[in-house]
Amino acid sequence: MNATDANSAVPPLGRSLLAIALVGIGLVLGWALWHQANAQASLTATVMTELPNSGVTNPVTAVLLNFRAFDTMLELAVLLLVAVTAGMLGERRTAPAGERPAETVSVSPLLLSLTRDLTPVMILVSAYLLWVGAKEPGGAFQAGAVLASAGVLAHFSGRSWRSDHRDTSIRMLLVLGTGAFLISALAMLGVTGTYFDYPVAWAGIWILAIETAATLSIAVMLYVTFCAVMPGGDRP
């Protein structure tokens, strides 16, 4: 049976040794931090100086979409990579041998109405987060996650969105986010001569456009990944 002891791959002696070692590491790290506590180094001043040149007024968005846009592009590439892989593994899933048949429990009409009421609100909140990200907390990722949640809710109420990654439109949406970053970076290389260098006057609207693309893409990527994990496959 699955007693707690059976769950551990390590014998008790090894576990206690490990625990002691980790406590030691913790003490060392704690000590190092304690001595560093008064340093108070930060990049706040630098960010604030350059903020007017970034096109947005929310410093976090400025860092994400302008100063360190390359990181964000790679982060979207990670999501894309996972969505594609999960889609492939989901595709390979054969008829459920060890899996239970699809739920026979009927969907409650109340859940349907919840989906109907909540989806518009979720879309609005997502759009709001996207828009407000330029000056206050919010941004593409948060917006995309909320939008994907709307998809998840629809999935549970039996109204799945289209999610087959073999669909051309889905694949276009998958690459849209990373593509928007990359194309704009390369376009800027052609126009201004510097990779990812947005002209200050246009930076705001340009960043909004990229973020919109990223939001849609993030939502689709998260949703496709979710469908690959769902029992019963991604087909409704």
């Binding site: 001595h35 350059e50 360190r68 790679l74 390979r92």
Partner: protein
Amino acid sequence: MSELTSGPALLAWLISLPLLGALTSIALKHGGRWPALAVVIANLGLACWLLASTQSAPLRYALGGWEAPLGIVLYADTLSAMMIGITAFVGAVVSWYSLDYFTRDSSSERTFWPLWCLLLTALNTLFLSGDAFNLYVGLEILSLSAVALVTLSSGLEAIQAALRYLLVSLMGSLCYLLGVALLYQAYATLDLALLAEVSGSGMLERAALALMVAGLLLKTALFPLHFWLPQAHAGAPAPVSALLSALVLKATFYLILRLWFDTLADAATQMGSLLLGLLGCIAILWGSLQALRAQRLKQLVAYSTVAQIGYLFALFPLLNDPRVAGAAFDSVIYFVIAHACAKGAMFLAAGNILTAAGHDRLADLRAANLPSAITLFALAIAGVSLIGLPPTGGFIAKWLLLQSALQVGAWWLAGVVLLGGLLAAAYIFRILAVCFDISPPPAAMQPSSQGAIVSAGRQWSALILALAALALGFLAAPVLDLFDANLVTD
């Protein structure tokens, strides 16, 4: 800024081109291989260009025009150019091999090309980026795409190996990130060059270095942390094994090198180098012994990787010694590139045998299972390079290593290297023995033994990599000149 763009913009292209390839490859429903191939070839051209342009001075490029503490800076010297070059070369040959390896338009094939492009993006990013956090994101793309590539072979063992690999590398990445967090807390900068200037040798730097290196060691599979490697490298499809063994491990090793001897050099202690060297020695012996005992061909090759990684770390004590640091660096780079070619050739050839015979159990393999003499030739040359016999690249690397070890009187190291060479000879001869065994295969094997026919492209690509390992032996002087031209050591 603007007058610099023509040259250094090359760095930006080196990372965006593979990414562009990945995106196009995903967007196309069929034939995603063509953009990927185009990108791989273009990448090879760019890599040559980079090698040429770093000869005069290192390149530096601030992305978006934002300078260091705020933005991300790309940076290339001859070491990174060399790594990018070997990546591009091995990558191109493996791509050629993969053209015939995967079934056209199968889901594996459609997934392979984008993933491989993303892997290439990650590799180039890791070699070029000068930003600690950007390196973290690069590491994550590297490991996630590597894991995803392993899952392309759909068997139970492959998935198991992929999962273990994934969890291990996630832990490694997080250890690395914790180190980055400590450094940021102290210095509020992520730029490696700036960190190298300001960081001292306090407790915090030591802790950060230890964490970052430990995380990377886990991904590089140095001896006690190698447990995930054999399964993953042996279970993956052949071209993927070649990429993982030849390139992916080298990328994380390169980062350790950078951190240990450049960015946080003040915090790195002699003791630490010695410890790494010792682990490297154990890895040489342990990996070779395991390779001797392996039942399957791909397992044997994978264990040999564990041993070869050991050589890289065995050099650490020498790298710290000012008398021989130069020669030791040459030796490291030679080990890296020679091993990349030889191991790539080995895995590709093993893939050919696996396809031809339908299995890779050493006990049941016979000469009749070999696709042709080309594959045999590739195996033999690559094997000789791994043993370290003249006139191959592996020999040059070992020669440089022995020379510097003897110069500083590290007899124990020389002994381990010689012993490792003997053990390598022993396990390589296990493979070669198969090739000359003309007795008929066991009867039980007969019906399934007639595997598929291996295309000429797959055989020649294996041979090309092996010949490259051979050529490295003859071209030692020019290659090392390329490398030494403009190296910034400490």
